[in-house]
Symmetry: C2
Subunit: 349 residues, 2 copies
DNA sequence: TTTAGCACTCTCAGCATTAGAGTGCTAACC
DNA sequence: GGTTAGCACTCTAATGCTGAGAGTGCTAAA
């Protein structure tokens, strides 16, 4: 069994960088010429053979150059990555876009996905921030016609939900306003189950409304991180490794389908701010065998948090992508913590 | 110049049906055997040659069978289509799904797209219903923290919008409630510009809020039919004519990109209920050269209306698709007119 | 007007050939 | 012992060729 040496690390790094850049198997000869090295191809061949024995490289067929294995990429990401900070000009451009508009929570998430997809030139995804158990903040009841009422529910953390409901009998707007005031005074900061429990003491109308409020909160909680915003599919389809028609279908299916949310919620980092790199489905997710994910959790530690990240081919510029994901994650965290000040701490609980 | 005869119509119809079904150029010999006819291939050849001269058929190369031209498809849709009613069992399934849940307006639209994509096995799209000039119905102001306020705006026609805003100075919730009541009493049924005009007479706080209300309504109006929900992209990628990797990219670009809303809003039918079939971009839209659109306008004549339809390859089962689009359009029209009763007529104006 | 016959055209799949790139191994070299 | 040159070998991808198959257009006869 060979062992890793400094030179082998260097060779591995260069092979991977070259392959990421050019997309073609790296041969010993083109290796030395391309990097202008003073050693012979034969030496590189020996080193490559050793790296192959160690499992970091492979070759598609006898007379082809070397290609990184999943393990090789992982080693690269863990040991051979240099600076991953996003270049300042791009930071500024992103920051500018975020300071441009005052938006709704979900729109922020959508903006984050769009920005991420654009700066990395890859497919991006994000989930809106959710707490484990959402808490009631405010409700508003708007009478539309006799028994038809629009319920607007605001949760701690900034989520706003609307729901249409039909009452058992017509009720005046004034009565509805009194009811919503009462709920706002008494239920602030409660979870779905707590509201369910307390609603028993209310009169019929209040009970009905409170039950629906609890249901909506529960729906938000259950939805959890299943709601995934996506963008930049086209970037991924532009990658030469996915040029085949057959593969394209697979990519679209994987990226648009529900499997994405499952892998994302299972494999995602738990702590806010951390960046996780998933390579080739890590042997567990078959559809992601040819893909790499760069994921990060953003939000407030212990409070609401969401995920965002980038999906691309294994052959991706990890340093740049990681930098972009980390930066946008940071921005979104700032945003959510602002929101938490608004809806949680400051407003009492 | 040849002219159309009954037999040529029949031949054209059969050629197109056969091509739609099997996806391969139709030759004179396989034509007679497949349909078990008592005439010779040579006769069919003559008829096909005439149809080709008339511009309804073509052949990709000398020794291939005949393929319909855009003009051929158009003739087919206009003259040779039989029953286009959607089969009853499918009508019932769709109706069932629509009666299943009480939803938000935009969620109805999303449901319609999903149902359409599923029953036609094609890509589907829809825009939410919009009036030419949206009218104010109700506003609610929710104080979140000193100067930060959540504004919830309900428009005639069922659209609900939220907007965060920052006031110049802190304001009590009670003051906000008084203000929203006042706006609700005085502005019902007004358009953005009317509200803008009247807001001048209000005190500072009211003027600020009214201006934002007007802005939001204006944004909704301007957005118009640019907001397009889409679904079923994967169905389209499954079509054999789009198997090439190159083409797949084009399809995704066309369907996901902004060009869709432009063609949709330009070429869409004007009257509610009508079904329009666009074949091969009609020479005007280059990206749609290989695609057919089946579009319908739903909603309330003279009130809010939206578009829905299906995008597929030229080689599509027009009868079935048209039936499905018409049926879903009808359902959505019913829904919107219910909504209009709620928000418009009944509630006064 | 319809039909049979026939020469002609074009595509597509299969096959062999070849150039090119790269490897692994061995033996010599520092 | 690590490094290098040389060389035989392997595999891919592109090219050109061939034959089968399908279909057409034309002509002449029914």
């Amino acid at each position: 069994m060979s062992e890793m040496t400094a030179r082998r690390q260097a060779v591995l790094g260069l092979v991977i960088r070259s392959y990421i850049e050019r997309g073609q198997p790296v041969g010993s000869k083109s290796f030395v010429t391309h990097f202008g090295l003073d050693i012979s191809p034969a030496t590189i061949r020996n080193e490559m053979a050793a790296l192959e024995e160690m499992g970091y490289l492979t070759h598609p067929h006898t007379s082809a150059g070397r290609v990184p294995t999943d393990q090789g990429y992982r080693y690269f990401v863990e040991h051979l990555l240099g600076e991953t900070e996003l270049p300042l000009p791009e930071q500024l451009m992103i920051r500018h876009q975020f300071h441009q508009a005052r938006l709704e929570l979900d729109q922020w998430v959508r903006l984050a996905v769009a920005v991420l997809a654009h700066t990395t030139r890859k497919a991006a995804l994000a989930t809106p921030p959710r707490a484990r158990e959402s808490k009631f903040k405010h409700v508003e009841l708007i009478s539309l016609r006799d028994t038809l009422v629009l319920l607007v529910l605001v949760l701690m953390g900034g989520t706003v939900k609307q729901q249409m409901l039909t009452l058992d009998e017509p009720v005046e707007q004034e009565t509805l306003s009194r009811l919503s005031n009462e709920l706002n005074d008494n239920y602030k900061g409660l979870t779905a189950s707590q509201i369910s429990a307390r609603s028993r003491d209310l009169p019929a109308l209040g009970r009905q409304v409170a039950r629906i409020v609890a249901q909506v909160i529960q729906a938000v909680d259950r939805q959890g991180e299943d709601l995934v915003y996506r963008d930049g599919l086209l970037h991924m389809l532009g990658e030469p490794e996915f040029a085949e028609g057959q593969q394209v279908r697979g990519i679209v299916q994987t990226f648009e389908g529900p499997s994405l949310s499952s892998i994302v919620s299972t494999a995602a980092p738990v702590e806010v701010g951390g960046v996780q790199v998933l390579i080739g489905g890590e042997g567990r997710w078959h559809e992601f065998a040819d893909l790499a994910l760069v994921l990060s959790r953003y939000g407030v530690e212990g409070g609401a948090s969401g995920l965002l990240g980038v999906v691309g081919p294994l052959r991706m510029t990890y340093d740049r992508t990681i930098g972009a994901v980390r930066y946008v994650s940071q921005l979104m965290s700032d945003l959510v913590s602002d929101w938490y000040d608004v809806n949680g701490v400051t407003d009492g609980q």
